[in-house]
């Protein structure tokens, strides 16, 4: 994985020193909140309902054991014993004191981590497929390009005060696990007919109050042109993006209002000025960054097949976990493991200090010291020998993280909602917990099959409800929480925005409504192989509306 060079070390240390000084000056009253607020946001420090919140960057979701152990240490020493993994592959702590933040940042820097650009109107953490480097279906690891983008975008003077925040995601496989079409820029790493690497480029995707699916503006961008082309996009956005209205300031609005043909023309024109200048990536530089992401030396472990077969017979729990949370690796003797942070009735994405430490141990012992955070708020061990799967499973059982529900209805994405967030209008976590408990039976969940349920506690859509197969949006109406349901959203290579199905539901009604939707699906699917999203696309909203609201219409 990537290791800081001398420049990175100096840069992060300098930022820790600078922000520590700013915190001290704030605490002594030398600078006002108005002066301090933009400074703290640039360093990931928010003020939420109960306390400050610190968002720490996990670049492209990649971590090692030492780093995860440090996060556990921070949770214990400075917070309340837990952290929350987010939909942007980052981690948030909910209770740090402002006065402790310099010490936290110093601890983070000691393991090559920071909180830079996790907030503010700049280019945020670049996210990537959580199976990058391990997936059997990728053309190349997308993370070296994410790292190149990170280096380019860190305190980029031209792009530190954009009209609004800016998010980039990159995937290296046809099967999009990084939700690239919901990002300001989405990059799909692929090969052209000549076998050269490059990107399909999407712009203007996003969620929030105006959800939009990204538009493809280039079929194939050679890898050497990554930075010049992204610079061209950012320049057009920086120049023409709206600064008069915060809610219309994202690039998606610019793309929508300008039209994709005109935006493409503007980007291409700007790019013509840039493409053959200093932003062209020398091949040697790309290969040098790629070398940091060299896969671990995976020795053949053919005994895995037999070991897995025997362990399956021995343990039903292991067998179920294997079916649900373990996916194919490009090396046949290995697998990628999803560690579900979605235990039944638990808070989606939360992990305790001791769980973080234990997972770090497991990664070091069985997974070549590599870990990922997924945008679906789970942890991933990307390289585990099949021969070691049972040992990993047993270790996860010991810490309560062996729930076999990856991609099932209880694998819910949920924002923190009104339990923590100052922007939220309704709670999301208790709704996630109740739905998870309602569908606790793994047998029932597996009968339902793949179902992505996503919950946001306000219109900003941090819980990705627009792209949930079933999406739930919590709002406040007449002083009470009300939950609107959208159906048919999707965040993969066939991204779509869900449609509102009808009137919202109270917190007491919402779980019943979800169950009714699921039962309706089970009743109309062609066969058990037809997934919820496919069935919805085939039949549309009518049967679900009928199931949810028919009684009312008749009564009226």
């Amino acid at each position: 994985m990537y290791r800081y060079d001398e420049f990175d070390h100096d840069f992060v240390q300098a930022r820790v020193a600078e922000f520590s000084d700013q915190v001290q000056r704030r605490l002594s009253g030398e600078i006002s909140e108005d002066q301090f607020r933009p400074l703290r946001l640039m360093n990931g420090v928010y003020l939420q309902l109960h306390a400050y919140m610190l968002r720490i960057a996990v670049p492209y979701g990649t971590l090692n054991g030492k780093q995860l152990r440090m996060l556990g240490h921070i949770a214990r020493k400075y917070d309340k014993g837990y952290g929350h993994f987010t939909t942007r592959q980052n981690i948030q702590f909910n209770w740090p004191a402002l006065s402790d933040i310099p010490a936290i940042l110093a601890d983070l820097a000691s393991v090559e981590m920071h909180a830079i650009q996790t907030s503010g109107n700049c280019i945020r953490n670049v996210t990537a497929d959580h199976f990058a480097g391990a997936a059997a279906d990728e053309v190349a690891d997308p993370r070296p390009y994410a790292e190149i983008l990170r280096q380019w975008s860190s305190v980029h003077p031209e792009f530190s005060f954009l009209p609004r925040k800016f998010k980039i995601a990159v995937t290296g496989a046809e099967r999009d696990r990084a939700a690239i079409q919901t990002h300001d820029i989405g990059l799909h790493l692929k090969k052209n007919a000549a076998g050269e690497l490059g990107f399909a480029v999407y712009v203007g995707g996003g969620q929030g109050r105006t959800p939009m699916v990204g538009r493809k503006i280039r079929e194939f961008l050679p890898e050497a042109d990554l930075l010049s082309y992204c610079t061209a996009i950012l320049r057009v956005y920086n120049l023409y993006g709206r600064r008069d209205n915060k809610y219309k300031a994202r690039i998606k609005i610019l793309v929508h209002e300008t039209g994709v043909e005109e935006i493409t023309r503007q980007v291409e024109a700007e790019w013509q000025e840039l493409k053959d200048a200093e932003l062209k990536l020398p091949d040697a530089d790309i290969r040098a960054i790629q070398a940091y992401f060299a896969p671990p030396a995976l020795t053949d472990r053919p005994e895995g097949d037999q070991a897995v077969k025997l362990a399956r017979l021995d343990s039903k729990g292991f067998s179920e976990w294997l079916d649900q949370n373990v996916v194919t690796h490009r090396h046949p003797d290995y697998a990628a493991v999803t560690i579900s942070l979605k235990g039944i009735g638990e808070v989606p994405g939360d992990a305790s200090d001791s769980q973080m430490e234990a997972v770090a141990d497991i990664a070091e012992k069985y997974a070549f010291d590599e870990l990922r955070v997924s945008h679906e708020q789970n942890l991933i061990l990307p390289h585990v020998a099949r021969a070691d799967l049972k040992a990993v499973y047993d270790a996860l059982v010991d810490i309560g993280l062996a729930t076999a529900n990856s991609n099932l209805i209880s694998d819910i994405i949920s924002c923190p909602g009104l339990d923590y967030c100052a922007l939220a209008t309704a709670r999301s976590i208790p709704i996630a917990q109740e739905i998870s408990q309602r569908f606790a039976s793994l047998e029932r969940q597996r009968e339902i099959g793949e179902l992505k349920l996503k919950i946001s506690g306000c219109i900003n859509a941090c819980g990705h409800h627009h792209v949930g197969h079933i999406g739930i949006l919590g709002v406040e109406k007449k002083g009470s929480e009300l939950y609107q349901v959208t159906l048919g959203g999707s965040a993969d290579e066939n991204t779509s925005v869900g449609e509102i199905i009808g009137r919202g539901f109270s917190s007491e009604e919402i779980t019943d409504a979800i169950e009714q939707i699921v039962e309706t699906y089970l009743g109309l699917r062609l066969n058990p192989q037809e997934k919820f999203i496919d069935a919805y696309r085939r039949v549309g909203p009518a049967p679900f509306k009928e199931a949810l609201y028919a009684g009312e219409t008749k009564a009226a």
């Binding site: 003020l47 109960h50 339990d419 917990q433």
Partner: protein
């Protein structure tokens, strides 16, 4: 009725103005029954903000239940108690202890 709330600068903890200072619990917060009292609280909040004691100062709706001051809106109830999903955290936990 209104009460004055904010978050303490040093640690961000939610506080309410009560009896001449900032209390960590809402129960005894100073109540404003009329516009003049609201203006007085607002001035106190503005000064505390300027003096760098607190941030995010707001006047919020409150009521008195069984002799104890309680915020009206759910958002403020959660601020006053802690996350509803973690009874072991926030003010509710301190009360229980």
């Amino acid at each position: 009725m209104k009460i004055l709330t904010a978050n303490r600068l040093t640690d961000g903890i939610a506080v309410w103005y009560a009896d001449g200072g900032w209390a960590e619990t809402v129960g005894q917060a100073d109540l404003a029954h009329d516009k003049a009292a609201e203006d007085r609280l607002e001035a106190i909040g503005a000064k505390a903000h300027a003096d760098n004691e607190v941030v995010d100062v707001n006047l919020i709706d409150a009521e008195v239940v069984d002799g104890v001051v309680e915020p009206v809106r759910l958002r403020e109830k959660i601020r006053a108690a802690g996350p509803t999903i973690r009874g072991d955290l926030g003010k509710q936990a301190e009360r229980a202890a």
